[in-house]
């Protein structure tokens, strides 16, 4: 677990005065005018749980790269704490710091940072070489991770002969070779073509599913952040303006700044069925009988109705025609007309996967949990509203 508490970085020689002003709430500009010191990061606090991907997002100059570099102390923070497994990185001795960087965390760079004079195998083995691992052992491990990132056969090649995407695979392999708990990724895919970037994002998600590393990932691309982040911190002018899950950021932006940021994003990637579904307020039970069902439908203008059993489990749905026919025949039990060919989704299904279904189905999509209980329903209106930036619930409410 990584806990960052009130982390502040001020660039310049006389940081004392600037820190004092910052504590009193002076703006970055005021501090710069008065003390000539530049604020890089302001009072950043966040917690990254083991095995999660934490994305720090912001435009260039927002302090995100500085913040990342404070975590492995490539840049020494001016104030605050970075606690990794109970130890404050800022109070570590140079030896302890070296040890931390060797064993516990490794970094992936925006421009790959491969050593041009080494072949791929030796580039990947660099971290192990620094640890003092014997040649055979480190090369065997390097081959293993090279295979994991899909670069088998390229071991003897030199970086200049690889495409950008391949070079970054080497960068990721190198970072994984030392088996660190923590990966620090500084805009790793920003320098790649859009299509390659998407492949790499998928690849990272796959690798992460297998390895469960704790990842801190920097990006300026909100789509990327929403796609791979478990939590996202949005930065502006050195300050974290919002921390939350991708949905929190999209659905309840904390400020106008965040709202403007999320305006142009492809929401279908980030929104899940759960975030746009409508609570299942109008349902019937088999014993309710066709009259009650028809009443319901008429009152609320519905053409179909979901049927639940006593435990809230979804049995299926009935249509208005079938119900009225049943009523005219005087049968009380709905069981005969229940159909169960409705499309279903679970709450975590991304909206992107449901758009197709949505386009063809006549019945609302039923969102059910693992036990088969109905959690909500998806109708076109709420999905479109979700995509457009409104909230699913507001349609009904």
């Amino acid at each position: 677990m990584i806990e960052v508490k009130n982390l502040t970085k001020i660039y310049g020689h006389n940081t004392e005065a600037a820190l004092e002003m910052l504590k009193k709430g002076a703006s970055n500009q005021e501090i710069k005018d008065k003390t000539k010191q530049v604020v890089g990061v302001r009072n950043a606090s966040f917690t990254v749980e083991n095995g999660e991907t934490f994305v720090i997002m912001g435009l260039s100059g927002s302090g995100k790269s500085t913040l990342l570099r404070c975590i492995n102390r490539l840049i020494k923070a001016s104030a605050g704490q970075i606690i990794i497994d109970g130890v404050d990185v800022l109070s570590m001795s140079p030896k302890e710091l070296e040890e931390l960087r060797k064993r516990k965390m490794s970094m992936v760079f925006q421009r790959f940072a491969l050593l041009p004079h080494r072949n791929i195998l030796d580039n990947v083995a660099y971290g192990l070489e620094v640890q003092g691992v014997k040649k055979e052992a480190r090369q065997a491990k390097a081959r293993e991770v090279i295979q994991m990132v899909g670069l088998s056969g390229w071991e003897e090649s030199y970086p200049e002969n690889l495409s950008g995407g391949m070079q970054q695979r080497v960068g990721i392999a190198r970072a994984l070779a030392t088996d660190p708990d923590i990966l620090l990724m500084d805009e790793p895919f920003s320098a790649l073509d859009p299509l390659i970037r998407q492949d790499m994002q998928e690849e990272l998600i796959n690798i992460q599913e297998k390895l469960q590393k704790t990842i801190i990932f920097i990006t300026h691309d909100l789509d990327e952040a929403l796609k791979i982040g478990d939590h996202i911190a949005l930065m502006k002018d050195g300050e974290i303006v919002q921390i939350g899950s991708p949905e929190d950021i999209l659905l309840s932006p904390a400020s106008d700044y965040v709202a403007r940021f999320v305006e142009n994003v492809n929401r279908s990637l980030a929104l899940t069925a759960a975030s746009v579904m409508i609570r299942p307020r109008y349902v019937v039970h088999p014993k309710d009988g066709p009259r009650t069902a028809l009443n319901f439908m008429e009152k609320h203008g519905l053409s179909t109705l979901f049927v639940l059993d006593r435990f809230g489990k979804l049995r299926g749905y009935i249509s208005a025609e079938d119900a009225s026919e049943l009523a005219s025949r005087g049968i009380k039990d709905l069981a005969d007309i229940i159909q169960d060919d409705m499309p279903t989704a679970n709450p975590e299904t991304p909206l992107a996967d449901l758009l197709d279904v949505m386009a063809y189905t006549k019945v609302p999509i039923a969102v059910i949990d693992e036990e088969g209980r109905l959690q909500g329903t998806l109708v076109r209106g709420s999905v479109i509203a979700g995509l457009a930036g409104g909230r699913g619930e507001s349609i009904n409410g």
Binding site: E98, M105, M107, F109, Y126, V130, L184
Partner: protein, 282 residues
């Protein structure tokens, strides 16, 4: 202006040199003896070895590092020098150049590293280098005599003073040009100071450093010739005698030999930086 008494810079210099001589004379003598043994030994080997063998080695070296044309030129040039009867003196000169360049690297590369790593060291070293490079060579040929006597040792030492600056400067420059991201890479994996230097910085500074060594070789060659004035012999000795006796023919022959050696050394060492990488990447 005339009221101000003349600053006795010359007297101070004399006093200083006498002081150095009295206090450090014995240790400089020990160093000089060691150096002389090395140079004489190297000269002995080069002169005694069959000329054919040395020609073959140099031609192969030229071929591998600089290509066919340079190899052909090396063969013809060395044969021409042999034919003129200048082989032994040429080997004397080459031995002095090799000794001087080795010492320049031995001292210059660590100083260059120091300059790149410490801003203070950089500020101290650079003006001294300017001073070494611009002070006329003849001026420090003289003080070398009281310390090291006449002969090959003061010649090589003045050569070192003259030829070392590019090694220091370009080592310093090469190390400073290593991309910031690669420095961060080294640090982020917990590399120690020496690991950074040996595994990342020096390999990346290599081609710049080799350019410095190439310059060092050329400067050494030119200075070794001038150092014949204080008895360093070699090709320069022949030129110097030719000047004194107005023997233009002999002077021209030795001059041409120097040019041939200069071209061979330059072409071979110029390509040191680029050749290796080209081969590996194929």
């Amino acid at each position: 202006m005339d009221r101000i008494p003349r600053i006795p810079l010359a007297e101070w210099t004399d006093t200083f040199i006498v002081y150095l001589q009295n206090n450090f004379g014995s240790s400089t003598q020990a160093f000089a003896d060691g150096l002389e043994g090395f140079i004489k030994g190297l000269q002995g080997i080069l002169i005694e070895a069959p000329a054919e063998l040395i020609i073959i080695v140099l031609v192969l070296l030229a071929w591998r590092l600089a290509g066919k044309k340079v190899a052909v030129f090396t063969m013809l040039g060395l044969f021409f020098i042999y034919n003129l009867g200048l082989w032994a003196v040429t080997m004397e000169t080459i031995a002095m150049v090799i000794s001087a360049v080795l010492l320049c690297m031995l001292i210059g590369i660590p100083l260059g590293i120091l300059g790149a790593k410490s801003q203070t060291a950089h500020r101290i070293i650079m003006p001294i280098l300017d001073f070494m490079q611009t002070l006329p060579a003849f001026v420090y040929l003289l003080p070398a005599i009281p310390f090291f006597g006449l002969g090959v040792v003061p010649g090589v030492i003045t050569t070192i003073i003259f030829a070392m600056p590019p090694v220091i400067r370009l080592t310093d420059l090469g190390l400073k040009q290593v991309p910031e991201e690669l420095i961060e890479l080294g640090k982020s994996f917990g590399s120690t100071f020496w690991q950074m230097l040996v595994k990342i910085e020096l390999p990346l500074a290599r081609s710049t450093m080799l350019a410095g060594i190439n310059q060092c070789i050329m400067l050494s060659l030119s200075m070794v010739v001038i150092a014949s004035m204080i008895g360093a012999k070699g090709l320069g000795g022949i030129v110097w005698r030719a000047i004194q006796t107005l023997n233009m023919g002999a002077g021209f022959e030795a001059g041409v030999a120097i040019v041939i050696i200069a071209i061979i050394l330059d072409r071979i060492t110029q390509n040191l930086g680029s050749s290796k990488k080209g081969k590996e990447s194929i």
